[in-house]
C-alpha cells in the first residue's frame, strides 16, 4: 500500500477532530441567535415590510456561494500545483455544499423577487451571473465524476475551477458595471456599511453561522470521502491479492 498518500490525511483527521466541536457549537449558536433576531426581533423594512426577513437567509447564502467557490478555486490550485491529495478530496467534498448555497441564494432571491419585483425570475446581470456560478458548480461536479480514475477527475475539475473563477468578480461587480434591478452592495463596501445596526447584527450573525456550518459540512464530507477512498483502495487490494495467489 502507498501509505504516504494517506499520511497527510491522517494529520487532517487529528486537526479536524479538534476543530469540529467548536465549529459545530458555534454554528448552532450563531444560526440560533441570528434566526431569532431575524425572524422576531429585527424591525420590518419601511419599504419592503415583512418580506425583508428573507434577506437574512438570502444575503449570507449569496456570500457563501462566492466564498465557497473561492475555496474551490484555491483547492484546485493546490491540487494542480502541489498535487496535494487532501486538496483533491477537499474540492470534491465542498463543491456540492457550494452548489447548495448557490441554489439557496437563487431560490430565496427568486422568492423575494416575486413580492419585490413582481417576477420570479429576471435575466438581470446579477441574477444571471449567479446562475452561471451555479452552472459552473454543476459542471465541476459532473467533470469530477466523469472519470474512472478519481485523481484524473480531481485534476480536470481543478482546471475548470480555476478557469471559472473569472465569474466571481463578475458577480460581485455586475451591479456596478451594468445598471440592474438588483440592489448594489450595502454591507460590504469600502466606505462602511449603509444599513441600520438593528438589521446589520443579525445579518452578520447569520453570515458567521453559515460560515461555521460550511466548515462543519466540509469536515464531515472530507472525512466521508477519505473513508470511501480507503475502502476503495482496500477493495482493490483484495482484488489484486485475489489474482496473486
Amino acid at each position: 500500500m502507498n501509505w504516504h498518500r494517506f499520511a497527510s490525511p491522517s494529520n487532517f483527521k487529528r486537526l479536524s477532530a479538534r476543530i469540529f466541536p467548536w465549529a459545530a457549537g458555534g454554528a448552532a449558536l450563531c444560526l440560533g441567535y441570528g434566526l431569532y433576531q431575524a425572524l422576531f426581533v429585527s424591525p420590518p423594512d419601511y419599504q419592503q415590510g415583512q418580506s425583508v426577513r428573507i434577506m437574512y437567509i438570502h444575503v449570507p447564502a449569496a456570500w457563501m456561494a462566492m466564498f465557497v467557490y473561492a475555496n474551490l478555486a484555491f483547492a484546485g490550485a493546490a491540487t494542480l500545483v502541489w498535487r496535494h491529495p487532501l486538496a483533491e478530496v477537499a474540492g470534491r467534498a465542498i463543491a456540492p455544499v457550494g452548489a447548495a448555497f448557490t441554489f439557496l441564494c437563487l431560490a430565496t432571491g427568486s422568492l423575494w423577487g416575486k413580492p419585490m419585483w413582481g417576477t420570479w425570475w429576471e435575466w438581470d446581470a446579477r441574477l444571471t451571473s449567479v446562475l452561471i456560478l451555479f452552472f459552473v458548480y454543476l459542471a465541476y461536479m459532473a467533470l469530477n465524476n466523469a472519470f474512472d480514475d478519481a485523481t484524473r477527475g480531481a485534476r480536470a475539475s481543478a482546471v475548470l475551477a480555476l478557469v471559472g473563477a473569472v465569474n466571481l468578480p463578475i458577480i460581485k461587480f455586475s451591479v456596478d458595471w451594468w445598471n440592474t434591478l438588483h440592489q448594489p452592495a450595502s454591507v460590504m463596501r469600502l466606505d462602511g456599511p449603509a444599513i441600520h445596526p438593528s438589521m446589520l447584527w443579525p445579518l452578520l450573525a447569520m453570515a458567521v453561522g453559515y460560515t461555521l456550518l460550511f466548515v462543519v459540512l466540509a469536515l464531515v464530507r472530507i472525512q466521508a470521502e477519505l473513508i470511501e477512498r480507503r475502502l476503495g483502495a482496500l477493495v482493490q487490494a483484495r482484488l489484486s491479492a485475489g489474482h496473486a495467489q
Partner: protein
C-alpha cells in the same frame, strides 16, 4: 533540435546507483537506467523495486504475463506517467528533471497505431518527422525499411492490420531518436516484416541507440538483456 545540451555534459560517472552492478563497456555515451522504480495505476501497485540498466547499443526485452505491467513501464519510460517511487535516469540524470529533453530523445510505439484514416502513409511519416522537429528527409528511408514504398500514397483506412503496424514502426526511422520504446511491436506483423523490424533494431543499436521492447514472443537480438516482470501478478 529541441534536445537540451545537458545530456552531452552529464556526469555519467557520478550518481551511479549503488545497486547497479552491470557496468558493461559502452559503445556510445548514453545510458538508461532505473532504480527502485514503482508504478501505481488506478490506486494499485503494478510493480515495485524495479531496477535495470541499458547502455548505448543495448536492447532490453520486457517479459512477463498479461497484466504484469510491461506497457505501464514503457509509458513511464516515455515520460507519459510518472513513477510512484524511484526514478529513471538518462546518463545519470533523472528524466523528470528535464522532461522536454527526455521527450526529444524518446520514440514511443504503443499498442495503438495513431493513424488517421484519411491521411496517406507518406503523409503520416512526414507529419511525424515535422512534429518532432526534424526535416522530412528520412521518410523515404522509413518507407523503405518497412516495405511501405508501394503503399506510400494509400490512405490509412485501406491498410490491413499488419500494414498499419508497419506505418507506426516507420515513425521510428522517419524521426530518429536515441531511445526506442516498443510495445509488442511484432503483433500482427508477417515474417518478412518481423525480419525487417529486427534489422532496423540492429541498425539502430549499431549507431549507439537503445531499444526497450515488450514482447511475448521469441524476439531478441545479440546481447539482449531480459527483464521479467511480476510473475505473481499472473491472473
Amino acid at each position: 533540435m529541441y534536445r537540451s545540451a545537458r545530456q552531452f555534459f552529464s556526469p555519467c560517472f557520478f550518481l551511479l546507483p549503488a545497486s547497479s552492478i552491470d557496468c558493461a563497456p559502452m559503445i556510445g555515451r548514453a545510458s538508461f537506467e532505473a532504480h527502485d522504480l514503482a508504478c501505481l495505476r488506478g490506486g494499485r501497485i503494478v510493480f515495485a523495486r524495479l531496477a535495470f540498466r541499458v547502455d548505448a547499443g543495448g536492447l532490453l526485452v520486457l517479459r512477463g504475463p498479461n497484466g504484469a505491467g510491461k506497457s505501464s513501464l514503457l509509458r513511464m519510460m516515455a515520460g507519459l506517467i510518472g513513477p510512484a517511487h524511484g526514478a529513471l535516469l538518462w546518463n545519470g540524470d533523472d528524466i523528470a528533471d528535464d522532461p522536454d529533453a527526455h521527450r526529444a530523445r524518446v520514440s514511443y510505439a504503443g499498442h495503438s497505431d495513431a493513424l488517421k484514416p484519411a491521411l496517406t502513409v507518406a503523409e503520416h511519416l512526414v507529419f511525424h518527422a515535422k512534429l518532432r522537429g526534424h526535416a522530412a528527409d528520412k521518410v523515404a528511408a522509413a518507407l523503405d525499411a518497412f516495405a511501405l514504398t508501394k503503399l506510400a500514397e494509400l490512405p490509412a483506412r485501406l491498410l490491413s492490420q499488419g500494414q498499419r503496424k508497419r506505418v507506426a514502426l516507420g515513425r521510428l526511422i522517419a524521426a530518429p531518436a536515441p531511445l526506442w520504446l516498443l510495445d509488442e511491436p511484432t503483433n500482427g506483423l508477417d515474417a518478412d516484416s518481423t525480419a525487417r523490424l529486427e534489422a532496423a533494431i540492429a541498425a539502430h543499436r549499431e549507431t549507439g541507440g537503445i531499444v526497450v521492447a515488450a514482447t511475448h514472443l521469441d524476439f531478441a537480438g545479440a546481447g539482449a538483456t531480459t527483464l521479467t516482470l511480476g510473475e505473481r501478478k499472473a491472473a
